[in-house]
Point group: C2
Chain length 267, copies 2
Amino acid sequence: MARVQRDGGDDAEPTAELPAVRDQGPSAVNGRKVPMAADKVRSIPEAAVARLAVYLRVLSGMAEQGAVTVSSEELATAAGVNSAKLRKDLSYIGTYGTRGVGYEVDVLTVEIERVLGLTRQQKVAVVGIGNLGHALANYGGFPGRGFPVEALFDVDPDLIGIPVGGLPVNHIEDIPDICATRKIAIGVIATPPAAAQAVCDRLVEGGVHCVLNFAPVVLQVPGHVEVRKVDLAIELQILSFHVARNAEQRVSRRTAAARASSNGEVV
Amino acid sequence: MARVQRDGGDDAEPTAELPAVRDQGPSAVNGRKVPMAADKVRSIPEAAVARLAVYLRVLSGMAEQGAVTVSSEELATAAGVNSAKLRKDLSYIGTYGTRGVGYEVDVLTVEIERVLGLTRQQKVAVVGIGNLGHALANYGGFPGRGFPVEALFDVDPDLIGIPVGGLPVNHIEDIPDICATRKIAIGVIATPPAAAQAVCDRLVEGGVHCVLNFAPVVLQVPGHVEVRKVDLAIELQILSFHVARNAEQRVSRRTAAARASSNGEVV
DNA sequence: AGCCGCTTGTGAATGCGTGCACAAAATCCG
DNA sequence: CGGATTTTGTGCACGCATTCACAAGCGGCT
């Protein structure tokens, strides 16, 4: 049966609790610090993972400017969070800071990359070479390099074989085969909404476990598949909500002010 | 002073408490329903707003298929959430359901649209007419119509004046003027990261209160400006994290299985 | 009319994430 | 070498969001 798309919230997975992931001898092999992190990985909150990615980008910017160490305060303001949150986020992946000093930029970079799985390259396939798909394909390895685009798909016969961003477009029918043989890890869906579910099914069939969905539909996927969605319309509508809310507050403030002034009060 | 980008989480606003949203005559069928909702609007959790937008889309799909009423259960599964959450989300905007029956599709649609501020059209400007900006400009009023793109900007002199999606491209310098005169409500930043902050400042200068940022930078904006960001790289890295996590679990499960089998246990 | 079954709306409980505040640690300096 | 200073790491408390579970309410059926 098809499970429902998980979207930053419901954790009701069949992963159960499984508190016994760690090996029996807990302190048996204490020499290294890595195994602890390996245990901890499972417990990093999703929100923290997203922020880790932000820290990583900020760090790379700092490294370019020759920074060697960075304090939690600096890094936090640069990333737009408060320092306590940053430190807690970092504590999920281990303790790589030096008290009284800060963090070594390159150490932290490497550790975050490791936790995010960026040491291995994740191959990406883009499906739907329309306006958006075109843009994605031309991103060329995607920012931060580590996500090479290794397959493109579309239904349009006129597009098949045409190279986009240096890669020929294949037909959607070939998704399962090509994804399987090229070991695609992440599928990006940039098709019209009507086609998205079918495309997604083919991706899953091809062994893709992670999907980034730009189509405005709720995808149904088996439980082991991770879906993230990026939805333009929804982002705009959220902003619209804030516009409306602010306009409303402004109105009510104005009426309140009017009322107050008619009462002779000072605003 | 520049406030930091808020990003789906910190709600530390002066929203106060105001617990009782009074519940006078429920079935009193007071001619208007607007005022009550107007009070409530402020207290809708951000996460719920995002889901309301999803419900809206699902509802419009159902309306097209001729559905008149829908139960919370149906709507919930179609939207990929559980029904309790859906009902609570809807309860934030009022009580428009009929017990024992469900919700009228069109009533619910209208009410959600009203809360999200979609009754008024929000004018959009797109800055940065590269691959992505091109795609955005060609979206043509954006999905769900209600977000007309009314201005395009870029630095490239070769692009100035060229119509993209039926709209001429203006120079970035003119952002403040044009946004102000055309009453742009939402600015979309699709520039390279280096230019994003300057563009954002100009948008704010032009009176834009809401920004949708595609550039991989943390924007600094004054407190009254709402920023939402869509970051490809971060989405991919989050997926990458899940790939790594799953791979790891699979490995540890395998080693566990190996250990178990070597112990003669049955897995 | 009155009962029955169905579905909503919501109080209460639970869980999770955030922010605070402080102890622990490390460096620097006298 | 010891104290002052700085900054990390984290226990704790708070608040928000999710989920549960059930009473309230409505339509249909007899």
